[in-house]
Symmetry: none
Subunit: 224 residues, 4 copies
């Protein structure tokens, strides 16, 4: 009786779930990100998260303490993943102009491809950055987010290609604004002005417009 049944053993061997805390937590976090992104912090239901999980509601509290703890970790995990991808971009070999173009394109594409991340950041801003402020991890992670851009601009200015007043922080602000807004406000924008910019063709146009806008803002000699 006290011997575990073969069935249970098998299930474990197959799924790797039980007695695998990290997998359980990762599974919860993945689900939580989706549900928080869809409904916001107060709109999300712990019950819904739990039911989409391979484990039970109780485990959420076991590992994350409470709903806010789960939200915070989900947010951290989302930021961590973004940074991980950004670091894979290797722009150092390219000339400044091309590197900057690539960076804008990458940011635009990445935001476009990860609406859940965008939504989590929107939600976090609705909460005035309260949870991000409490997470040293996220702030540390992100401080580095500007390093690549900083080096590109440094090189571009050294070569006389970029304007002397091109400030990495402001350029990052510009790139982020265009890439972020494109996703965050898609719903209201397309409702009011139609879907023209939401189609594949439309997105291609605004992406190009964004690249040109950033380049022309930075280049010493803007392209006509």
């Amino acid at each position: 009786m006290t011997k575990p049944s073969a069935g249970a053993q098998e299930r474990d061997r197959r799924t790797g779930w039980k007695q695998n805390p990290e997998a359980v937590q990762a599974n919860i976090l993945r689900v939580a990100r989706k549900v928080f992104a869809k409904n916001g912090l107060s709109g999300a239901r712990v019950d819904e998260i739990a039911s989409l999980t391979a484990t039970s509601k109780r485990m959420i509290y076991y590992y994350f303490g409470d709903k806010e703890g789960l939200y915070r970790k989900a947010l951290e995990e989302a930021y961590r993943e973004v940074r991980r991808k950004e670091e894979q971009l290797n722009l150092e070999g390219l000339d400044p102009k091309e590197a900057l173009e690539r960076l804008v394109e990458f940011t635009f594409d990445h935001h476009h491809a990860n609406p859940d991340f965008i939504r989590l950041v929107m939600i976090e801003n609705i909460h005035h950055g309260k949870y991000l402020a409490a997470s040293d991890l996220i702030r540390d992670l992100n401080r580095g987010a500007i390093t690549q851009l900083d080096q590109i601009i440094r090189r571009g200015r050294a070569q006389g290609l970029f304007r002397d007043d091109a400030d990495p922080l402001v350029v990052h602000w510009q790139i982020s604004a265009l890439s972020f807004f494109n996703v965050s406000n898609e719903a209201t924008f397309s409702l009011i002005f139609g879907e023209k910019l939401s189609t594949a063709a439309g997105q291609k146009r605004v992406r190009q417009w964004a690249v040109t806008a950033v380049m022309n803002a930075v280049l010493a000699e803007p392209i006509a």
Copy 2:
């Protein structure tokens, strides 16, 4: 039956606005906008809204049906107010270049000065534009939002000042992105990168950067 009785009139005179349905509704809407902007739709509490009101919770249901009805009306009212201000901008007398500069500045400044409106739009996007979609009023209101820009660009292109591929919709997208993001993401941006762009001086810089970026994106011959 819509005429207040003499007794009601008297009470009205004493209290200032009891028995004045429109004033009661306006009061509720003003409070609701603030509370929804602060907490989101599910985060907002009908009780909190009611307590900040000069009237009672029952009146909210009396006039707006339910929480979502109140949210929708608050959203409509916010959009309506924006449009009212935009219409006061008279750019027709100006030459296209200056008119466009003014429009960018106005949008930037207006968004900066009305964070509650920005937050309502963020919230609405969190809800995938569900409530805006249900409101013919808002869509009609906003369709006109692009008319001024359309005329400016038309004139600029006619005069050979602006690029031929300058599309009012895309330019509006660009202006909105910069102006909106500047407010919507202030919390997370400043937490991660510091307050440099949030100060008065910083805001002045990004405002100028935004104007230049839009102009250089549109001008046939960008300014170096």
Copy 3:
């Protein structure tokens, strides 16, 4: 449809419950006292209290905020009731000896007759007086509890009947100890030593013993 049914109207007319907040609160408090007395603060179930009530669980939170708020009010109400009864005792016309005897008898009998009050005080002591400490009302109420004894002892000492070192506070302590313990520890005492002192005859004996003990402790010339 919107007209209330005759049945509901009748019920209201009969019970006086609905739309009678004070009766509802009093009803809740009466039940709460019993359940808290039986199970303690953490042992009590809000659901149990609600089900024994003529109203719903929701009303408990409506009127008392939370479980602790209900406990606090129930405690206050219990103390208030005790004081109300004590004030009805009129000992001023009696000579000091007889007055003191009467006071001891009254206290002993009252505690005996109100085990729920005793249990609430036990429970409150288990909580280190935390809730009583937070209630100005209870402290104010009880400060007066010693006034009658103070006057009796004053008179007895003035007449040379009572010892000069008879301190009202200490005498009150003694009276309380005997009367309180008699009820509070009835369970363990009778389990260990049998029911002899719990029967009517046994209670009569200890009551007499208590009276004599207090008198002999106070009298200038103890009775043999």
Copy 4:
């Protein structure tokens, strides 16, 4: 099988008491007594007890079955310890008067010095003595608690020093009441009437008052 293996012995030597079942149980019981005394039976948390223990939660269930089993054993252990101390009191050589004084003083002091024991008994009374009733051990232990007093009173009555109606059970009741209440109700008493009787000086006074009260209640010729 009760002999630890060599490997276990080694670990034992390192850790001090792992693999020493009795020490583990004693450790758990010591912690449990404190936590139950502080919070009551339902107020105590198994998790808190476990975390204050040198071992794990699982061991509590292993050794004591469930929370109530642990409580029962903690209660038993507390009673056992009290009896152990009482038996060390040797009053047989003293004359009855002095012996009785000593016994009152001892009881008063012991209760004063062991508030956790008092609190456990309070808690047990809140539970109507349910767990004590289930423990033959405790009842047997305590039956003897009155033996010493019985002999003292027997001797005092034989010598004509004590009243003929002095009943050991009633005198024990009196001694217990004063000594117990002094500790059990300290919180509420001092909150209502101030700390005067809680200070060292105040405790000295009530202790003396208790001794005198018991003596005067018992003595054939009370002291003025």
